[in-house]
């Protein structure tokens, strides 16, 4: 079994005529340490897939296995602990706690676990994220890019096995977006974390090792970065040769 495995995942919203199928029997396997990008148009179900893997949006059917464990097998309490320890989730909008300062926001998952904060790691993260002189600031005193970096810091603090990023650069300008992406990639390489990143920006997706394309709640294409490009080229070539 792969490190992360999703089997027949379904998510259905609404009932009757209003019923919407966000995920339609999605199955996939992700090896440990892989950087995977999930792309697709708006409403294709890519965020829903990410949230189901993160344990924040309970699927209608199907299973999610992390390190061989079915994350939805336990009760809500265990699911919360799973989110706290195993997953680092980053949203498009930072979703920080407005009453906590930078350090408190970053260390939140550790504090929830009633563990002692690893000061070395915290300092390392602050340094790395460029937030050293902002440690006592409240979220509303930070710029958008800084807020997103705090969110990344929070996701990284616990050194989770899986990082899940839902359009993390979507609300940022290109310079800030680039920096954030670099941070995620560095973390992925440095800590051997599995990284799943949802985006609709092909340039960002192209930096991933693997790209999953989702349309209408289904994985329609699963390709390794290099091969995808060649496959596309081959396709174009073939069509040209056929005189299309």
């Amino acid at each position: 079994m792969e490190f992360l495995e999703v089997r027949n995942l379904c998510k259905i919203y609404g009932k009757g005529a209003n019923q919407v199928t966000a995920l339609d029997h999605v199955s996939l396997k992700v090896p440990k340490g892989e950087f995977t990008a999930i792309i697709g148009s708006s409403g294709s179900g890519k965020s829903t897939l990410l949230h189901a893997i993160a344990g924040v949006d309970i699927p209608t059917r199907g299973k999610v296995y992390l390190d061989g464990q079915d994350i939805y097998a336990g009760n809500r309490e265990q699911l919360a602990v799973f989110r706290r320890r195993q997953v680092g989730l980053i949203y498009q909008f930072n979703n920080l706690i407005p009453t906590l300062n930078v350090v408190e926001n970053i260390t939140l998952p550790v504090l929830m676990d009633r563990r002692k904060v690893n000061q070395e790691r915290l300092e390392d993260l602050l340094e790395h994220l460029g937030l050293k002189d902002r440690r006592r600031h409240l979220p509303n005193q930070l710029s958008g890019g800084q807020q997103q970096r705090v969110a990344i810091g929070r996701a990284l603090m616990n050194a989770p096995a899986v990082m899940l990023a839902d359009e993390p650069t979507g609300s940022l300008d290109s310079k800030n977006g680039y920096e954030i992406l670099q941070l995620l990639k560095e973390s992925n390489q440095k800590y051997k974390q599995t990284l799943l990143l949802v985006t609709h920006d092909e340039n960002i997706a192209l930096q991933a090792e693997r790209i999953l394309t989702i349309a209408d709640g289904r994985v329609v294409r699963d390709s390794r970065a290099g091969r995808t490009a060649s496959a596309n080229m081959q396709n174009t070539q073939g069509r040209r040769e056929a005189g299309v």
Binding site: H51, A54, V56, D57, I58, R76, E77, A80, V81, F82, R83, R84, R85, V87, L89, Y91, N95, L96, I97, P98, T99, L100, N101, E104, L108, P109, L111, M112, D113, R114, R136, H137, L138, N140, Q141, R154
Partner: protein, 848 residues
């Protein structure tokens, strides 16, 4: 309907729960206002009717009118009616002491049948006079002046006129030093009955009104005229214009309740009580309503921003919010008015009996709805709503458009103000810190929660402190409570009549227990009084006898056998020694001044003597430390020997002459409604043919008055506290649930980074604890101070020492439970909804 009204209405419909809570708040505050106003008007109407029943319906008194002026007054257009009696004259009240220095006269009034129809007279004993030789005396001669005049007594009065410097003085002129009584003639009257102090006699009048009938030929030509006006408001003006030669006075007691008074204290009392109640209700309801508007405004602030960005003016926005307020008011106020009147209607039967006892006028306390008052209640509620709606609307209109759309104002906070101490970390962990930070951030919004909770808490505690202190003070005062509630004492009435009366009277309204006794005073000789009785007795009575032989008056009570033998058993004495011809009797030797009992446990032999000094009967008395029933003797010496004998022994004492030649008998009644019982007994007695004289006393009057007052205060207080608590609950519910709704996203965020259900609950509970603690801090402190002040005031009024302050712990404990109960339940309800929610839905919600 324009687009603004439409969006306002849609907003109301969409947030159904919140709209309902707001409307409930409006209903509550309108109901409370209406309730108080309606209760007030009902009470005022009751007081007016009770006053009319007591003193008659008149507004102006001319105390010295000649027949021509009387006729003029009767024909006056402004006059609705007149009642007049002849001023026969004044006589000095013999035996009146210092207590009656400013009221030294008897005032004789000749009452015609017409006058008696208009001016109420309440007989307490005897019958009405039938001619100019018979007279009724008011009971306050005995109560105030201490002069005892009995039914059947003959009064020889030197009647004349009061004058000062030649000027005639009337009942309107209070007693002045230097005035003289010019005697004109001597008149002889027979007292036929006693009546209650007449309500038409002015408080400051110098003469006790003796009621007789006008004679055919003896016309003094001067009248006291009581005028009822069509426009009572003009009473003073009318009297000033019309008085002519006569002195005059207005019926302050009645006019006061009609709201026409110059009495600054009464006015201040009325307005301050009304004002305080009004302000409290207004404040509480403004909070409630303001809060819900403030909250719904926050929710719609984005919508406002969008509307403003496409060109809506701030005036249009304000108008839209006011429209919303108007809708809520129109929905809530009518229900509030109905509920308020309904509550008072349900409440009145419960309290009317107690009110009836306070004034014992027989006037029922009925619901009286005043439409101007209802209108006022509706107007006040509407104004409250509109003000509450307008304040936040103005605030929204002043907010920059972009800020409205972005909604950045809501979460703006300073790091400094949110800093929490290390102690919170250590004590409560992360959840505690989060709770504390939320509490600090939302301080402003939660202020109304804390304030309204504190409000009801302080009211409940201080109210109960007031009650208990009052009860304790009264308990101290009425510690020496008498046996029974109503006492009937007859002098020289035959035993047959007495027993017949007793059988009739014991069935009167309200009586649940009764007993009777015969109280003769015998003369006794003994040489067996031990030194420890003899010495203090002689010293106390100033008796200079020497040697062991001592003559004493024995105050005897023949009581019902059951009562006697029960008492005997209580004392552990053998029944057989107290029956038969040579039975022993019980005796108690008491220093009546110090209430010290002497010689308990010893046996003394006495000889009962006749007035001529012959020996009549030998008795042996066992001295005990008290006696089973209060005697009915009115004047007791400083030292009293009370002898208690069962009724079955009475035949052995027949024929022994009493000390003063009189025979006194008494009945004691225990009644659940003493005032009503007295009234019933009075009417029963007036129908009876009796010989001798009798008196009825309401022993419980002082105590009962207090008990009823305290009940009325109880009802008012609990009603008020209940209403206010309801408002507080609505307020708390509204604020907390909305606050939780506003923080949905934040709470979802916490859960998405792994906060467990337990941690979440812990955080919310701790938040409750912080609000609760803050409320308790203010509430307990304030109520402690207030209850201490109440205690101080009551104690200083009653001039009591050795009366310790007691903090109202019970009420405080209940309030604490109540506060936490309300907060926790609301939080439980609100978080329950949030907890069940999908995290992602909450995170995506743009509305919060």
């Amino acid at each position: 309907m324009n687009v603004f009204h439409k969006t306002a209405l849609l907003g109301l419909c969409r947030n159904r729960t919140r709209t309902l809570v707001t409307i409930t708040g409006v209903v509550l505050s309108a109901a409370m206002f209406t309730g108080i106003v309606t209760f007030g008007t009902s009470l005022l109407q009751y007081l007016i009717h009770a006053e009319i029943a007591k003193g008659g319906e008149w507004h102006v008194l001319f105390s010295d009118a000649d027949p021509a002026f009387l006729q003029e007054l009767q024909e006056e257009e402004e006059t609705a009616g007149t009642a007049a009696f002849e001023n026969i004259g004044y006589a000095l009240l013999e035996g009146a002491g210092e207590m009656s220095a400013e009221k030294p006269y008897l005032f004789l009034g000749g009452f015609s049948d017409e006058a008696l129809k208009e001016l109420p007279v309440h007989l307490t004993a005897g019958r009405m006079p039938e001619n100019e030789r018979e007279v009724l005396i008011p009971d306050h001669i005995a109560i105030k002046a201490g002069v005892r005049i009995s039914v059947g007594d003959t009064l020889e009065l030197a009647v004349g006129e009061r004058r000062i410097e030649g000027q005639l003085l009337t009942q309107c002129d209070s007693y002045q030093t230097g005035e003289t009584l010019e005697i004109k003639e001597t008149r002889i009257y027979t007292v036929t009955g006693i009546y209650e102090r007449p309500g038409f006699e002015l408080h400051e009048a110098p003469g006790y009104t003796l009621l007789t009938r006008p004679g055919e030929e003896e016309q003094s030509g001067r009248y006291s005229v009581y005028v009822k006006l069509y426009a009572p408001r003009q009473a003073k003006d009318y009297a000033g214009r019309r008085h002519g030669e006569s002195a005059w006075a207005v019926n302050e007691n009645l006019l006061r309740f009609m709201g026409i008074t110059d009495d600054p204290i009464f006015q201040a009392f009325l307005y301050s009580i009304g004002g305080i109640l009004g302000v409290i209700i207004m404040t509480a309801s403004v909070f409630l309503i303001y809060n819900s508007f403030h909250i719904s405004l926050n929710e719609r602030i984005q919508q406002f921003g969008i509307l403003m960005s496409v060109g809506a003016t701030s005036a249009q926005l304000k108008e839209s919010v006011l429209f919303e307020g108007f809708c809520i008011g129109s929905a809530g106020i009518p229900f509030g008015l109905l509920a308020g009147v309904g509550c008072v209607k349900m409440l009145l039967p419960a309290v009317s009996d107690h009110f009836g006892n306070i004034l014992s006028s027989g006037v029922p306390l009925k619901l009286s709805v005043s439409f101007p008052a209802l209108l006022l209640a509706a107007a006040v509620s509407m104004v409250t709503i509109l003000i509450s709606a307008w304040i936040p609307a103005r605030k929204a209109a002043l907010t920059p458009v972009l800020e409205c759309i972005r909604q950045t104002g809501e979460i703006r906070a300073e790091e400094k103000s949110l800093r929490t101490s290390k102690a919170v970390w250590k004590l409560f962990g992360l959840e505690g810190v989060l709770a504390m930070k939320n509490f600090k951030r939302n301080k402003k919004r939660y202020r109304s929660v804390i304030l309204s909770l504190t409000f009801s808490m302080v009211l409940a505690i201080t109210g109960s402190a007031f009650q208990t202190t009052l009860k304790r003070v009264a308990g101290e005062i009425t510690a020496q409570a008498a046996d029974g509630d109503v006492l009937f004492v007859a002098e020289d009435m035959s035993e047959e009549t007495f027993v017949r009366l007793y059988k009739q009277m014991e069935g009167a309204e309200g009586i649940y227990k009764s007993t009777w006794q015969i109280n003769p005073i015998y003369t006794a000789m003994t040489d067996e009084l031990p030194e420890n009785i003899l010495e203090p007795y002689r010293e106390k009575m100033g008796d200079s006898s020497e040697g062991p032989v001592q003559q004493i008056p024995l105050y005897v009570q023949f009581i019902e056998d059951d009562l006697f033998f029960d008492f005997l058993r209580e004392k552990g004495l053998p029944r057989e020694e107290y029956t038969g011809p040579d039975a022993k009797v019980l005796m108690c030797a008491v220093d009546a001044e110090t209430h010290t009992v002497y010689g308990t446990g010893s046996f003394i032999n006495f000889t009962l003597m006749s007035s001529s000094g012959e020996e009549e009967k030998e008795i042996c008395a066992a001295l005990v430390d008290n006696y089973p029933l209060d005697t009915t003797f009115m004047d007791v010496p400083d030292w009293i020997f009370v002898m208690t004998v069962p009724m079955q022994q009475k035949p052995y004492f027949d024929g022994i002459p009493t000390l003063d030649g009189k025979l006194q008998q008494g009945m004691i009644f225990w009644s659940s409604t003493p005032s009503k019982t007295i009234t019933a007994l009075q009417s029963l007695l007036t129908e009876q043919e009796t010989e001798g004289s009798y008196m009825l006393y309401n022993l419980s009057k002082a105590f009962e008055l207090f008990r009823n007052l305290s009940f009325v205060i109880d009802v008012f207080m609990y009603m008020f506290v209940f209403m206010l608590s309801l408002i507080a609950v609505a307020n708390v519910f509204n604020t907390i649930s909305t606050n939780i709704q506003l923080r949905r996203r934040e709470l979802a965020m916490l859960r998405s980074v792994g906060m467990s259900e337990r941690g979440f609950c812990r955080m919310m509970n701790l938040e409750c604890v912080f609000y609760g603690m803050r409320t308790l801090l203010y509430g307990l402190l304030l109520s402690g101070i207030l209850s201490f002040l109440i205690y101080k005031v009551l104690v200083s009024i009653e001039k009591m020492d050795d009366f310790a302050y007691v903090f109202p712990w019970r009420a405080a404990a209940f309030s604490v439970l109540g506060v936490f109960g309300i907060v926790f339940l609301t939080m439980f309800y609100a978080t329950g909804k949030v907890r069940k929610e999908n995290i992602i839905d909450a995170l995506r919600d743009e509305n919060v």
